[in-house]
C-alpha cells in the first residue's frame, strides 16, 4: 500500500487529499487512480505536475515499497 497525497488544485479536483492505494510501482498507481477518476488521472499526467516519492522528486518510473509516500505536486506558486 502506497500513501498517496494530493496538493493544491489536484486535491480540490479529486475531492480528497490523502488515500492508501495498493500499487507496486508508479505506473500501476497512476492506472489505479485514473481507473477510479479519469479526470484526475489526466490532471496527474498534466504539464508541470511533479511527483515526490518519500519526499524526493522523481522523474519517470519508481518502485513503491510498502508504506511509500507518493505526492503529486501541481506547479508551485511560491509563498
Amino acid at each position: 500500500m502506497a500513501r498517496v497525497l494530493l496538493f493544491g488544485r489536484l486535491a480540490d479536483q479529486a475531492g480528497w487529499r490523502e488515500r492508501s492505494i495498493d500499487a507496486g510501482d508508479l505506473a500501476t498507481l497512476r492506472s489505479a487512480l485514473a481507473a477510479d477518476d479519469a479526470v484526475l488521472g489526466e490532471a496527474l499526467a498534466g504539464p508541470g505536475v511533479q511527483v515526490a516519492v518519500d519526499k524526493a522528486l522523481v522523474r519517470g518510473e519508481a518502485i513503491l515499497a510498502a508504506g511509500t509516500e507518493v505526492a503529486f505536486l501541481p506547479p508551485m506558486s511560491g509563498g
Binding site: 493544491g8 488544485r9 480540490d12 501541481p74 506547479p75 508551485m76 506558486s77 511560491g78 509563498g79
Partner: protein
C-alpha cells in the same frame, strides 16, 4: 539556520530581537516581512498549502546555498501556512553577515525564491469564490536575476 512553517500568527519584531542577540562578528542584519495586504477590507483572504517535510527541506537547502554564496553568519526564515488574514505577516526572512551588501543581497535572493519557486500552493478566497494562483511574471523575472 532555522526554517519554520507555522499555521499560527507570528510576531516579526520578536524574531528580529532574537536574531540580533549575542552576535560577535555580525555587522549587518537585513530582514524582510511580507504582509497580507488589507486593502481596506477588499482583500482576498490567502490560503497557503505546504507539504511538511518537503517544503521546509527545500527551503532549508536554498537557505544553505545562500549561506555559502553570500558568506552569511546565519539565516532565519518563518513562513505562514494555512488561512492568513489581511494584515498578518506571511513571511519573515533575516540574514546576518559581516557587511550590509551580503546581508541585503541574500535577503533579496531568499525572498525571490520564496515568492516564486518555493513549494507552496496558494489560494485566494474572494467573495465570488476561491482560485489557485501562480507566480506573477515579476516574481519569475526577479527570481531569474540569481540564475
Amino acid at each position: 539556520m532555522i526554517v519554520t512553517l507555522t499555521d499560527q500568527p507570528f510576531e516579526p519584531g520578536a524574531l528580529v530581537t532574537a536574531f540580533c542577540a549575542d552576535r560577535q562578528e555580525t555587522g549587518a542584519v537585513a530582514t524582510f516581512v511580507g504582509l497580507a495586504r488589507a486593502e481596506a477590507g477588499a482583500a482576498a483572504a490567502l490560503e497557503l498549502e505546504a507539504y511538511p517535510g518537503f517544503t521546509d527541506a527545500a527551503i532549508g537547502e536554498v537557505a544553505q546555498a545562500a549561506i555559502e554564496r553570500f558568506k552569511l553568519h546565519d539565516v532565519r526564515i518563518v513562513h505562514r501556512i494555512g488561512r492568513i488574514a489581511p494584515g498578518e505577516a506571511v513571511v519573515f526572512v533575516a540574514t546576518a553577515a559581516g557587511h550590509r551588501r551580503e546581508a541585503f543581497e541574500a535577503c533579496d535572493f531568499l525572498m525571490d525564491y520564496l515568492k516564486s519557486r518555493a513549494p507552496f500552493w496558494k489560494k485566494e478566497h474572494c467573495p465570488d469564490g476561491a482560485r489557485w494562483i501562480e507566480p506573477t511574471d515579476r516574481d519569475r523575472t526577479d527570481a531569474e536575476r540569481w540564475d
